[in-house]
């Protein structure tokens, strides 16, 4: 078991797709994406019922054991949240090594 950061990002589907492709460039060791997630926040409800999928959210989960990479990811996420909304949480976890 190794300590790591568990980054969790909720963001609109069109942006999530782009973010996912960027994560690799930022050095993330991997990620998991839960599609078609609903929610509500400052910008009202997202019902995941629109045909373009543009009103659904995705939840992206990233386990990362390198603090520099964590910082790089957070720096990339911050402006996205300011302009388009969403949430990003960071917590501590243990990563089962195999």
């Amino acid at each position: 078991m190794k300590t790591c950061k568990r980054i969790e990002i909720v963001i609109e589907t069109p942006l999530a797709r782009r973010l996912a492709t960027r994560l690799r460039e930022l050095g993330a060791p991997g990620f998991t994406l839960i599609p078609e997630v609903r929610g509500a926040g400052d910008r009202g409800e997202r019902r995941a019922d629109e045909l373009s999928g543009d009103s659904s959210n995705c939840l992206i989960l990233i386990a990362c054991d390198d603090q520099a990479t964590v910082d790089r990811i957070l720096d990339a996420v911050r402006p996205l949240l300011s302009s388009s909304g969403g949430v990003c949480l960071v917590s501590d976890a243990l990563w089962l090594r195999h």
Binding site: E12, E45, D49, S52, D54, S55, S84
Partner: protein, 331 residues
């Protein structure tokens, strides 16, 4: 007038109303999201294929090319005037997004108008399907150009946004791609191809359109309700009124423009109606998706609500028969 009632009384339109009613009475009726997506892909596939087969049976002459060019030109020109009008009342990003929205088209309005013509046995030409597909991208590109020129530079999402990518996406956007591809295949395989897929492409068309419009009614009504709530909460009420005025006058103005051009081009009754419907409708699928990426500071509560919750039902219920009556009167 009987055409007007005829449209209101056809099953597809009535199912749209039913969807609206479901939201009004707070029923939990809902079409599963992936199924709604599949229905919309079906409609694009069917109308594309039908258009292609029709195309294969007619000759493509200069007047066809003129019509396609006119369609593209209008989809690039409409955003320009729209932008400058909207900018007087709204932030630049919102004005640009609304401009792109109304330059582009609503595939479902087109499909419904085609069904409306089919029910009344009025002929229409396959190449108008191509016109529809060609009108998506120019509007998006012009909208973003306008914003980049008149808005403040350096939007925050720019890290995820590149011009090259965006142009690629607006050109090869899923709906545009499917409709052009199906049209091409319909054109290649002609009536032989049609005989193989007829029960799906023609037989089920109006029935599945009913189910799709049921979903559209639900989605549009929910969005309208949300925006009314938002308006009430923000105590102003003004934006909703503004949105209503704009979203009802734009289809009418653009329909007049389209009507004039259709008249200049000498289109037939059916073709003229489809042409006018294209010009008068606003996108709520391709453009909003592109705007979220390119202009994230534009509020979808404005442009999407206008096109989806106001202009779309207006065109569906009132626009189509009214434009038709005008064309009949003019021709």
């Amino acid at each position: 007038m009987s055409a007007f009632l005829g449209n209101l009384g056809s099953p597809p339109l009535l199912f749209f109303f039913l969807g609206v009613m479901a939201v009004v009475v707070r029923s939990d009726l809902e079409i599963p999201a992936q199924v709604a997506k599949a229905l919309s892909l079906y409609l694009l596939f069917a109308i594309g294929f039908k258009g292609g087969v029709a195309l294969s049976e007619s000759t493509i002459d200069g007047s066809v090319l003129m019509t396609l060019l006119a369609a593209m030109a209008l989809s690039a020109a409409i955003p320009v005037y729209t932008f400058f009008v909207m900018r007087k009342k709204l932030p630049t990003a919102d004005a640009a997004a609304i401009a792109a929205t109304y330059g582009s088209v609503s595939a479902v309005t087109f499909v419904t108008a085609a069904g409306y013509l089919d029910i009344q046995d009025i002929a229409w030409s396959g190449y108008l399907v191509a016109a529809m597909a060609l009108m998506e991208s120019p509007a998006i590109i012009v909208g973003i150009l306008l914003y980049n020129h008149f808005g403040k530079q350096g939007n925050a999402a720019s890290s995820l946004f590149s011009w090259k990518q965006l142009i690629n996406e607006s050109l090869f956007n899923g709906s545009v791609f499917l409709i052009l591809g199906s049209m091409l295949i319909g054109w290649i395989t002609g009536s032989d191809g049609m005989s193989q897929v007829e029960p799906l492409v023609k037989g089920l068309f109006l029935g599945l359109l009913c189910l799709f419009l049921l979903d559209m009614g639900i989605v549009a009504a929910r969005r309208f309700r949300d925006s009314r709530h938002a308006a009430t909460e923000s105590a102003a009420g003004q934006p909703l009124k503004l949105m209503l005025v704009a979203a009802l006058s734009m289809p009418l103005i653009n329909a007049m423009i389209g009507l004039s051009v259709a008249w200049l081009l000498g289109l037939s009754e059916g073709d003229a109606l489809l042409f006018v419907v294209l010009v008068a409708s606003g996108s709520y699928i391709a453009v909003p998706a592109a705007m979220r990426l390119a202009l994230p500071e534009a509020n979808p509560g404005n442009y999407l609500t206008m096109s989806l919750a106001i202009t779309f039902p207006f065109n569906l219920l009132i626009g189509i028969p009214v434009y038709h009556a005008m064309i009949r009167w003019l021709l």
